[in-house]
């Protein structure tokens, strides 16, 4: 045995004990912190279910609000409004966002690409209430009234940075050999992007969409000056009235987006600050519905991506 080996042998037992101790301390510390991080999540979800659960019944989803003092009624207007706003904001944000991301991914070092990346970062940092104010001057003032259209635009601006950044990152993750394989067959650049790059990155891109949607769905501030809120918003009535008046589809759709609409977070915000206990109770119900709405979007996205993965990998 060399001197070194002797020393090691002497210290081995002590070392082992010390190592195990440090390991145990660090493991429990990280575990504890993990639990601590999970506390707010479960607390919020649990408390919202506890406070909001009993207000939820079928009428809550199918009826408009009743006047104060009359029990019952629901938040159909804000559920429909949320759906209208979500669809509108997707329509406005996804096509330009995806195309811009394609440009940025392919031309990262051109002046336009650099400006795009920089301004997306800036846009992501702009407070959402400022977006609302901006769209107010841009759309609400010229139109002289609040509308779902304005709300959709405000939310779309909010979604743009997320969509551009995630789509760009996902496109960059596609192995460049895939792109070269297509170009090597003589495919033009646009065809390669459309039928090779896009499908290869689609799962990640869709995940980005849903992240953006989930964020926009929960926003209140940009809607304050744009969608405003509308206790009597009822898509069913608009459609019914339109059909009776023999209006075409576009006129009816136009009427839906041309008037103020409500949304779940907006209703939550309004109800929660009213001095009437039944409204405060209902605001907890709205919070629960909002949570479930976002959760459902998330779950459907996951399921869809999983099934796509299975199909792709055979």
């Amino acid at each position: 045995m060399t001197k070194f080996q002797e020393l090691i042998a002497k210290n081995q037992v002590a070392h082992l004990r010390q190592r195990k101790l440090v390991n145990a301390v660090m493991l429990s510390l990280t575990g504890l912190m993990t639990l601590l991080a999970l506390v707010p999540l479960f607390w919020i979800v649990g408390y919202v279910i506890y406070r909001g659960g009993h207000t939820i019944n079928l009428a809550f989803f199918t009826q408009l609000p009743r006047p104060l003092g009359v029990t019952g009624g629901g938040v159909l207007h804000s559920i429909e409004g949320t759906i209208v706003l979500t669809v509108l904001s997707c329509l406005f944000a996804i096509p330009p966002g995806v195309l811009a991301a394609f440009y940025a991914a392919r031309n990262p070092n051109t002046p336009l690409g650099i400006v795009l990346r920089f301004s997306t970062d800036v846009l992501a940092g702009v407070p959402s209430v400022v977006m609302g104010l901006f769209v107010y001057t841009l759309i609400v003032v010229p139109m002289k009234h609040f509308s779902g259209l304005a709300g959709g635009v405000a939310l779309a601006i909010l979604m743009l940075p997320t969509i551009i950044r995630t789509t760009e990152e996902m496109l960059k993750l596609v192995p460049h050999t895939l792109r070269e394989g297509s170009l090597g067959l003589g495919a033009p650049e646009w065809k390669t992007s459309l039928s090779v790059m896009f499908p290869a990155a689609l799962n990640g891109i869709i995940t980005g969409f849903f992240l953006a949607i989930a964020r926009a769905t929960g926003e209140t501030a940009p809607l304050l000056f744009t969608a405003l809120g509308n206790d009597n918003f009822n898509v069913g009535l608009i459609v019914k009235g339109g059909v009776q008046a023999h209006q075409d589809v576009f006129t009816i759709l136009g009427r839906i987006i041309n008037q103020p609409v409500d949304s779940l977070p907006l209703t939550l915000w309004k109800y929660a600050q009213q001095p009437y206990p039944e409204r405060v109770e209902q605001s907890w119900g709205v919070a629960l519905v909002l949570m479930i709405f976002v959760l459902l979007i998330e779950i459907f996205a996951r399921l869809w991506i999983e099934s796509r993965k299975r199909r792709l990998q055979g």
Binding site: N109, P175, T177, L178, E180, G181, S182, L183, G184, L185, G186, A187, P188, K191, S195, V196, P199, A200, R311, L312, Q313, G314
Partner: protein, 278 residues
């Protein structure tokens, strides 16, 4: 007239057989230099690729083998700031001019990459991708092309019952043969292979090499390989490359594979193929 004959006779006598078969050249590089920005990646490459033969490009890492290979179908165009000077001839026509249709060049000079890169589509759609690009839409036409290409790539028997499964569900070796079938589907004249077996196990490698032997009856093949034994096994001609003192790739020897491996003229080639460095 007499002088001409005399010249060609001299050629035949003094030079190796490589040059005497010049009429058979499918592709040729004349004083080709490739630049990436200010960096000169390749310097004065002159090489003639024989029709229906396998030509191997060997040399140590970073000597520009892949850059040279990617010059044959102008794939270097895709790298930002790249520039190619000199002549690249396909059937005697210079394809390194701005007027040439790169898309047509890439159809005639197909490419197989180092790592299998099937598209995230079905096996059928992978092979039909190329023909569809060129406007072939009729299902019966496509069916025929897909079957012929997969048979030619020795993959048909393994996949004929699952053509509509994803290409990604195949094993690595099968994926590489799928990529070869995809390249064959547009009926190229030359096939470039960039270390096509380096990501595969020995058995899959053997299958790819056997496949190359079959394919060379109908196609001209150029292969980049790190594997000296592979170059010796599969190729008819071998080009040896090395970087010069300015870190630019040069071709230091080109000859029949047998000559390169048994009786190389250049000392550096001898050292490399005998494994003394590289």
């Amino acid at each position: 007239m007499e002088t001409k004959i005399a010249v060609s006779d001299t050629n035949h006598d003094t030079n190796s057989t490589v040059q005497s078969a010049e009429s058979d050249n499918k592709m040729e590089m004349k004083n080709l230099s490739v630049f990436y920005g200010k960096f000169r990646a390749l310097t004065d490459i002159n090489v003639a690729i024989q029709t229906n033969k396998i030509t191997a490009i060997i040399g140590p890492s970073g000597c520009g083998k892949s850059t040279l290979l990617r010059s044959f179908n102008r794939m270097n165009d895709l790298t930002a700031n790249s520039r190619m000077e000199g002549g690249i001839f396909l059937d005697g026509e210079n394809i390194n001019t701005s007027g040439v249709d790169v898309v047509d060049v890439r159809r005639r000079v197909g490419m197989v990459f180092q790592r299998p890169n099937p598209f995230p589509k079905s096996i059928y759609d992978n092979v039909a991708y190329g023909p569809r690009l060129y406007g072939i839409r009729r299902k019966s036409d496509l069916d025929g092309i897909v079957e012929r290409s997969l048979k030619h790539a020795a993959l048909w028997d393994e996949v004929k019952d699952k053509l509509h499964q994803s290409g990604l569900s195949l094993s690595g070796g099968q994926q590489q043969r799928l990529c070869i079938a995809r390249a064959l589907a547009v009926e190229p004249e030359v096939i470039l292979m960039d270390e096509p077996a380096s990501a595969l196990d020995p058995i899959s490698t053997l299958r790819i090499e056997e496949l190359m032997h079959d394919l060379v009856k109908d196609y001209t093949i150029i292969i980049v390989t790190h594997n000296m034994q592979q170059a010796a096994r599969v190729s008819d001609y071998t080009a040896m490359m090395m970087i010069d003192d300015k870190r630019s790739g040069r071709m230091i020897e080109f000859d029949r594979t047998q000559t390169i491996f048994t009786n190389p003229k250049d000392k550096r080639t001898e050292d490399y193929v005998t494994g003394r460095f590289g």
